[in-house]
């Protein structure tokens, strides 16, 4: 997909950049994942209930709202992107 969309001269570079996007994502996954741990804890251990709330609120914000938001945003852009792809599927 990426190879078809990138200009012939810099196809290797674009492929490398694509790896960078996964790399960045994994590194960000670490930063997002940390949010599931209490940020406000004064060294105290979270109870089961508190930790469950922490997980579900983090997943609600990032896993549900951000990802659905991104999906919706991209959906709006699909017609433009298809035009920009100039015949490539």
């Amino acid at each position: 997909m990426v190879t078809k969309l990138s200009p012939g001269k810099i196809v290797g570079f674009v492929m490398g950049a694509w790896f960078l996007s996964i790399s960045l994502a994994n590194s960000m996954a670490g930063q997002i994942g940390k949010l599931t741990e209490s940020s406000s804890s004064g060294g105290g251990e979270l109870s089961m209930m508190e930790s469950l709330n922490q997980y579900s609120s983090t997943y609600l914000t990032w896993g549900v709202m951000v990802v659905f938001g991104a999906a919706f945003l991209l959906l709006l852009m699909v017609p433009t992107l298809r035009k920009w792809m100039n015949g490539i599927h």
Binding site: F19, E45, Y55
Partner: protein, 430 residues
């Protein structure tokens, strides 16, 4: 003998693989070159080592390595290091691919990478010796060896497979599907086996098992070279030039060997400072995206420029997808460990074994999905690439909806029924 559930799951997984793999091989044996099956098994074992280690990595850090710092800090640190580790795993293949192209050739790059990975796994296992247990640096060294080794192994074994097919060979797509089946089979077996061994018997034995898997992979690959099964493919582009003095009296080969080792301390540095790595990668990404936009607007060929803009846009959404998808190995595994009711028939399923659900669902759904795309393609109704991204993101979000619902409405004393975790993996798999 007492019935043990975790072991039973492992045996079921193994049985599944022992039936599934021969079927794949038997039905494809006469169609494809033999190298495909060699590479299938080499990659299966390499992925066994990689995913087996990854399945237990977060839990080991959170429950053993950093436990003295307190539970909260140990978990936060585990998630951060896991993120930095996987981030760098995806960074080094760019370099490894380059080295294979210019100096090593595929064969040598794969062997060198596999050897480094095996060394890394055994270093992690070695940290189990009581005298070495407290030394975090040994643990970091093991991880960095795997990161650099994977950079040589992973991209090149895929490219090497491509060498056995002509550019327009119609069997090529099928060959890669079979190859990726090897990836997922290795991953499924690994998460069940290493997860079981590490959590029930000994953590370091789990890491050692991953190392043994890598040794199997190397043996498969090495014996194929000895049998001349790769014909004349994957050799160094210019073996003589690579041995001659090239830089400061060192040959190109030696520069690569030495360079690989010099990367280890850099990798260790970033493992420890994962937030710095995140910043560096963000800046690099912005710079590259900026360059894409610049290229697009100055391109003489307007269509070419617009296509590159599409790549730039998808770059971003691709990253969003993976940033949440990759919670599986870190925060979701810790979630499974703490807040998921994993009791079945009076026994607890190890948290790490839940990670086997992803490869399992991929093995089951990937053929269905590729069949579906093929049919839609014939009917000229296959969704465009951006549309496929939209579908992928929506499915991922649905998976998280399931977890949040389970946590909000079905939790007992802070424990979510594991059904919800299992279900959340289904859309992720496809």
């Amino acid at each position: 003998m007492q019935f043990e559930l975790a072991l039973t799951l492992l045996i079921i997984g193994l049985a599944f693989v022992l039936i599934w793999v021969p079927i794949i091989i038997r039905t494809n044996r006469d169609i494809h070159p033999r190298a495909l099956f060699t590479l299938f098994f080499a990659e299966m074992w390499e992925r066994f080592s990689y995913y087996g280690m990854r399945a237990i990595l977060t839990l080991y850090m959170a429950k053993v390595l950093f436990i003295d710092m307190g539970d909260d800090i140990a978990r936060t640190k585990a998630i951060g290091i896991y993120g930095a580790y996987t981030a760098m795993v995806y960074l080094f293949p760019v370099l490894g691919g380059l080295v294979a192209d210019k100096v090593f050739g595929f064969r040598k790059a794969i062997l060198w990478g596999g050897a480094l990975m095996a060394l890394g796994h055994f270093t992690l296992a070695l940290a189990g010796i009581p005298a070495l247990e407290e030394i975090v640096l040994i643990f970091y060294l093991g991880l960095s060896l795997i990161i650099v080794g994977n950079g040589y192994f992973k991209p090149n074994i895929s490219s090497f497979l491509g060498e056995f097919y002509a550019k327009d060979d119609s069997r090529k797509d099928a060959a890669f599907s079979i190859f990726y089946m090897g990836v997922n089979v290795g991953s499924l077996l690994a998460t069940l086996t290493c997860g079981y061994v590490a959590e029930r018997i000994n953590w370091h034995l789990g890491f050692g098992l991953a190392g043994i898997g890598m040794i199997f992979g190397l043996i498969v690959f090495w014996s194929a070279i000895k049998d001349n099964r790769f014909e004349d493919k994957g050799l160094a582009p210019d073996p003589e030039a690579a041995c001659k003095p090239w830089f400061a009296g060192l040959s190109q080969n030696n520069v690569v060997y030495l360079g690989s080792l010099l990367f280890l301390p850099i990798v260790i540095f970033f493992l420890d400072l994962d937030t710095v790595l995140s910043s560096v990668l963000s800046v690099a990404s912005l710079a590259i995206l900026g360059y894409f936009v610049y290229y697009a607007f100055t391109a003489k060929d307007k269509a070419e420029g617009q296509r590159l803009l599409v790549v730039a846009v998808l770059f971003f959404f691709h990253a969003v997808f993976w940033a949440l998808f990759e919670q599986a190995g870190s925060s979701l595994t810790l979630f499974a460990e703490r807040n998921v009711d994993r009791m079945v028939m009076g026994q607890e399923i190890p948290a790490s074994q839940f990670q086997s659900l992803n490869p399992l669902f991929v093995i089951i759904f990937a053929p269905v999905l590729s069949w579906l795309w093929l049919r839609l393609n014939k009917a000229k109704r296959e969704p465009s690439t951006p549309m496929k991204f939209v579908l992928g993101l929506s499915q991922l979000a649905l998976g998280f909806v399931v977890i949040v619902l389970g946590a909000k409405f079905f939790a007992n004393d802070g424990l979510v029924p594991m059904f919800f975790l299992a279900i959340c993996y289904i859309p992720q798999g496809s």
